[in-house]
């Protein structure tokens, strides 16, 4: 049902991303037309199920617009590295958590120290996987610093391996804050 993924990327020399602005403009016009059509369909249908499907399609179209918009921004500032967020990624972190200073990655934690970072009472929520300590304080999947019965402040290497085999990308979306020692 999702409408993403049909974007035209053109890779130039050295693999640099070259963005066809005209193509994006046409896509945006088309998406707007589709959204307009969906709005009218919502008025026309009396069936709740169809209405619900239409509403979902509209969400997808709007996510698509957002994506196109990001591309346009990227095209306007080609010299900057603009991260293009993937809409609807299940593990979205807050934008401001990416501003963590890089040298924090070198901070060392013992298990006892890690256990302080429970995400409660003013402490951030940290978890360790494969020796790396990550900040999950504002990670959507860690509401009230718990995740499927697991709590923060622990080494969750085994739990990660048993539930997220082959999903290394999850770790790539997390913010590393240091290393677990011993």
């Amino acid at each position: 049902m999702t409408g993403q993924g049909s974007m035209n990327f053109i890779f130039g020399k050295e693999g640099a991303l070259v963005i066809d602005v005209d193509m994006i403009q046409r896509q945006i016009d088309l998406t707007f037309a589709e959204i307009n059509y969906l709005i009218r369909l919502m008025y026309a249908t009396e069936d709740e199920h169809t209405k619900n499907l239409t509403l979902n399609q509209m969400w997808n179209k709007i996510a698509h617009l957002q994506f196109l918009n990001q591309l346009l921004v990227a095209a306007s500032f080609p010299q900057e590295q603009v991260a293009i967020p993937i809409p609807n990624s299940p593990q979205t972190t807050l934008p401001d958590s990416t501003n963590t200073p890089v040298d924090n990655n070198q901070r060392e934690f013992t298990r006892e120290q890690l256990a302080q970072f429970t995400g409660m009472n003013g402490q951030p929520a940290y978890v360790a996987v494969n020796g790396v300590v990550y900040d999950v304080t504002n990670n959507a999947a860690w509401s009230v610093a718990t995740h499927f019965g697991l709590s923060a402040g622990r080494d969750l290497t085994q739990e990660f391996a048993s539930c997220h085999t082959g999903q290394q990308w999850i770790l790539d979306t997390l913010v590393p804050v240091g290393r677990l020692i011993a």
Binding site: A44, E46, D47, E48, N56, M120, N121, G122, A140, V144
Partner: protein, 298 residues
Amino acid sequence: MSEHPVLPPESTDNESVAARLAREAKRQVDQSTLKKKKLVYLELNGCSGNIISLLNGSNPDFEYMITSMVDLLYSNSLMAAEGEQAVQRLFDLADSEEEFILAVEGAVALKNKGMYHLVGKIGDRPVTGLEMAELLGKKATHVISVGACSVDGGPSAARPNLSQSVGLQRVLDRHIIKLPGCPVNPDWFLGTLAHLLMFGEPKLDDMNRPLMFYSTLIHDRCPRRPFFDQGIFAEKLGEPYCLFKVGCRGPVTRTDCPTRKWNDHVNWPIGASTCIGCAQFGFPDRMAPFISYDTTKE
């Protein structure tokens, strides 16, 4: 006479086109041959809340379901017959060659060979939920697990799980359509049933949930999502901001609640409080705590 009758030109503005398409879709649905099948609705170890939720269904509603969609053979909550003559029907059905769909709500209690939950008795002989789930589960053309308890034990299996309750799949080695939720939204059950009757099995995800209801993360369709993205969090219930810091499980739960809503589409859990992940596997133990006030809010 090969010509078609000449009609005045139809209006081609967007509203009219959309209205015509909607009418046509409805006509096709109305005309499609809805083949009535037999349905057994088995209530096992649980709160019988899914059948109550089912009564909350509208379009189709319960009356339409039993008059036009299925022949409902058995429901502990609703059937007129009782005692042995009620239970005997299930055995007769299992002995016959009749085709039927089996919907099961509640968990299967394993403790004491299933004696922690009885469906009924034949004479003096207790008939356990476990026995009936296995007997009918093997014979049914389709099996639907309705609600959290039937899907993976749910609240009936919450620790310390004294009744040793498990989901239906644990005692039934066959393909089962799973409709998690506590309770199930009536549309999820009736929609799945309608799809089965009209077009066969709906598309399922890798956990056997129908994609048409369970494909989207609540968090991605939540009207409060902009607050999350900007880091504006509610500190207590009742505030209109993102409830992530008080315990909302919308970011880990996949249902269409934000758009479909509940009870004739008037409201939904996040319209009142947090999502507690009732349609996620592992509810309730792995979705706890539901509400907490001491989370770091930064």
